[in-house]
Subunit: 194 residues, 2 copies
């Protein structure tokens, strides 16, 4: 019987948890992302949406489970960069990220589905892009990697060649701040990953 | 015909290059790691050993190839932390990393095996460990992840739950600074990853 539920449709979050040898099931959270005000500061926005996702999955859980919800946004000058709507949108996003830093926020919400014990937190990681040429941006868009990703890049794939450095948790950029999550699971929910 | 040669036995470097969709062959460099003075500053040490590895592979190459050598060291207070010699050594290393930062240096050397055109560089990434309990360290050692890794941890695996943040290129810690490498391949060797 798996005790942990990941309330996320993200294949990257699934991969991060698998990489930690955690046994878990996935429940698709069916959360309405538009229900949270995008005018909120990023750290509040991601915590808010992470908790909506976690509780949406809790509702679908009869047995006692530890449910993890998460949400990630990419921000540039306090503006959210979401998944690109098309190639032109992706081009403009990558052009705006070129030669400067932006921030990635991931909120996590962990809930015990029976006791309702819960814990919410977020992590912020700064990401520094090198200067990109238009040709590089076009070639990258052609690889197809960017279309399903907030900010139009994947740090774990080809996007890595654009990133000079980060300051913060790498996995927070991929979609789940593992150091923080492991600490919460251990200290608050007695779930030890090691 | 593959143009790129990776002069490294590291499965993690192989995985990083594969992840960038680069076609390459591997030549085991047969380099004598003891031939480089460990009293050198870390950035010189890794560049020196990266070049020894690259040229060792060049010697085995008849056709024209772009050969990549690399070497990574973990340093704490200017002391090198190598692969642990046993469980006790691993415990002492992880204990020394607990609750503070250390630095990881990777040197890369890229050589055209016919023209001898070559380029050497290094990257440094600072890694911040949270405070670890002795029990956590013992549990981590029991997973077996640490034994073949410099510094006795793997940032890409379970070791990630110890790492609060990094400052620098994530892949530099895994073993290959991809942003720097891609820039060198493109600008110096006309090899475009995208």
């Amino acid at each position: 019987m798996k005790k942990i539920i990941l309330a996320s449709n993200s294949p990257r979050r699934k991969e991060i948890l698998e990489n930690l040898n955690i046994k878990f099931d996935i429940i698709s959270p069916d959360a309405d992302e538009d229900s949270v005000d995008k005018a909120l500061p990023a750290h509040l926005y991601v915590e808010n949406l992470a908790s909506i996702k976690a509780f949406a999955a809790v509702k679908k859980t009869a047995l006692e489970k530890i449910v993890i919800g998460a949400d990630t946004v990419v921000t540039l000058d306090d503006k959210f960069l979401l998944k690109p709507k098309g190639e032109e949108d992706a081009f403009n996003m990558l052009k705006s990220l070129s030669g400067r830093s932006h921030s990635v926020y991931t909120g996590i919400c962990v809930v015990n589905s029976h006791t309702a014990q819960s814990c919410i937190a977020y992590e912020k990681t700064d990401v520094y892009f090198r200067k990109l040429s238009d040709d590089e941006i076009i070639s990258y868009i052609k690889t197809g990697e960017c279309m399903d990703k907030a900010g139009a890049y994947g740090i774990q794939g080809l996007g890595s060649i654009f990133i000079e450095k980060i300051n913060g948790d790498y996995f927070n950029v991929v979609g789940l701040p593992v150091c923080r999550l492991a600490k919460i699971l251990k200290e608050e929910f007695c779930v030890d990953i090691l």
